[in-house]
Amino acid sequence: MLKIINLRCSVQRAVHTRQLVYEGYGNPPEAIQLKSVNIGDKPAADQVLVKWIAAPINPADLNQIQGVYPVKPTLPAVGGNEGFGKVISVGSNVKSVKEGDHVIPNKSGLGTWRELGLHSEADVFSIDNALPLEYAAVFQVNPPTAYRMLKDFIHLKKGDTVVQNGANSAVGKQVIQICRILGIKSVNVVRNRENLEDLVKELKDLGADDVITQEELYGRKKKFPGVKLALNCVGGRSSLFLASLLDHGGCMVTYGGMSKQPVDCPTGPLIFKDISLRGFWMSRWYDVQKTPEKRQEMYKELAEWMKSGEMKKQAFVNNRLEDHARAIEDAQNKHDKKQLFLLD
């Protein structure tokens, strides 16, 4: 895919590379175009040249192209916020990464749907080179979201219970697995569907203690004991019932709003049981880290769980860049498998 063009009278050579670009906000399948560009192959002093290997299509990427996501890169922009690549070369002042390192974006908005990129050192972050592609491509957002929500709001002890809705989401599945690893019970709420038994089995195989439908949750009289934390990515009625399950002093953390309804909470638990409602956004967590230690520590723990197989690989549909229109269309309409660009 790479064409190297020799330019006379210049030490810097231009490298021909392809990327998925949007010039204005709009419906993602139409707004995104495949463009060929030339970039310099010699990073400046504080730059790194990255050969991108794989990048997913996430809902946030689509929202960003629609112009409705809070992180708004300068247009025209390269799509994609997550993914991983390999460092080809580094500038003379670069210290935090070296040639051959596997890297992910330091934060949202970098543009990962590309073959090659010249990035500032501060825009990439090293990960474990031994992490297989299926983990590395989706390492930045969902596993850390699950990890941080389980660690940062309530001090959970072995045997405590976490309830979550949207348990079938990518984050939801990570939550189930991390809970299992940490010895925390998980009660998982999903929408009713035709193949419910298959889904229940899939989630139980991941380590779910209980899987119930929303209807069962709404009709349920018996309380689950020891619910300290609720994770909500749905909102509306579902959040209302989730909040009602919390023990005294419990916390409901919202990280998404799939129903497009506001987060609902009943009066009783709020004022008599001293529960609290919080929100979590992975991008902001990354933004506020002043030093890399906490992030490295988390990445190390997650990578160990992944390499040992304690956390399962996700299923993907693999795409080439030229298949972008269909891939993005499918990402918008089909939610069973994540769409992934293979860039190498």
Binding site: P70, G235, T254, T267, L270, I271, D274, G279
Partner: protein
């Protein structure tokens, strides 16, 4: 035989509709307090929403009937038992929803009594232990506010709402007050400005003008106080500064409290709740609670806290008064339990 005095009291013998199950009865109260007790003549006590809930059996703390109603009030020491720190004529109150307030006389443990300065007007004294402390705790315990910082609230004309306005003024905070639209909205706004409100909007006005208004102030509110729920909690919590807190103390709309996903996720707001009765009973809050009561009392003596407008009614008119309280269209009802209290209002 022990000497007793007759006392008329509003009692319910079973949970149910407060208009039906509350009865005015005459009970016998010991006339001589034992050691460590006082005989209190209750002077005035309001009908609070929680009184209605308690009689209905819907309140979190359930006391099995028969129960004498009431949740706060002011009384006068008639006789003090030996060794009491009170003297005859002292004004007192109790912080306890379990206390029988709707009775002419009661025997009370000395240590449960809180002395009130006799200069505090009786209507304010009768409503000093729930609403002003709720406002105080919400303004002091959740967000560190500095002079000039903004606080937004709905239900600004409620008992707690009016306390919030007065405390904001006393502490140097700016209050943004949202109320429901009503026929006499001009008078209401004037009244809230009079007690110290900085800005008053109807829900509709705030919806239309909040964008421009928020640009005109130096920073967005750090604290939102919610006594309503539904769309109203969403409205006031959505304009918070990043990392701000919304504290809920009631759910007048009887709807679930709503908050936008983006306020929680992207604007990092926190949602908390408080019930003063629970808060004050927590061991770790004991010192803070005593300090709160002391401060609220001081502000009442200084005239910085004033009474909300209330309609004075006698115990005999309880059916009408309870009816009005349940409809929620009238001002708060205050039982004048002992007629000698009237002249002190």
């Amino acid at each position: 035989m022990q000497k007793t005095i007759q006392s008329r009291a509003l009692i319910y013998h079973k949970f149910g509709d407060p208009r039906e199950v509350l009865e005015l009865q005459t009970i016998q109260v010991p006339a001589e307090p034992s050691k460590g007790e006082c005989l209190v003549q209750w002077l005035a006590s309001p009908i609070n929403p929680l009184d209605i809930n308690r009689v209905q059996g819907n309140y979190a703390l359930k006391t099995e009937p028969p129960v004498i109603g009431g949740s706060e009030g002011v009384g006068k020491i008639i006789k003090a038992g030996s060794g009491s720190r009170f003297k005859v004529g002292d004004h007192v109150t109790i912080f306890s929803a379990e206390t029988p307030f709707w009775t002419e006389y009661g025997i009370v443990d000395d240590e449960d009594l809180v002395q009130l300065d006799n200069r505090i007007p009786l209507d304010l004294a009768a409503t000093l232990m729930i609403n002003p402390p709720t406002a105080w705790i919400m303004l002091q315990k959740y967000v560190k506010l500095e002079k000039g910082d903004y606080v937004i609230q709905n239900s600004a004309n409620s008992g707690v709402g009016r306390s919030v306005i007065e405390l904001c003024k006393a502490f140097g905070y700016k209050s943004i007050n949202v109320v429901r639209s009503r026929p006499n909205i001009k008078e209401l706004k004037t009244d809230l400005w009079r007690i110290g409100a900085d800005h008053v909007f109807t829900e509709e006005e705030f919806k239309e003008t909040s964008k421009e208004f928020l640009k005109s102030i130096k920073s967005r509110p750090k604290l939102a106080l919610n006594g309503v729920g539904g769309k109203s909690s969403l409205q006031i919590s959505s304009v918070l500064e990043r990392g701000g807190t919304c504290v809920t103390y009631g759910g007048m709309s009887k709807k679930a409290h709503e908050f936008t996903t983006s306020a929680l996720v992207f604007n990092d707001i926190q949602v908390r709740g408080v019930a003063v009765g629970m808060w004050a009973r927590r061991e770790e809050n004991l010192d803070e609670w005593n300090f709160c009561v002391e401060q609220v009392h001081k502000l009442a003596v200084e005239g910085k806290l004033t009474s909300i407008p209330m309609e004075k009614v006698s115990l005999a008119d309880h059916k009408k008064a309870i009816q009005k309280s349940m409809e929620g269209k009238s001002i708060k009802q205050l039982f004048i339990i002992n007629s000698s209290a009237t002249s002190r209002l």
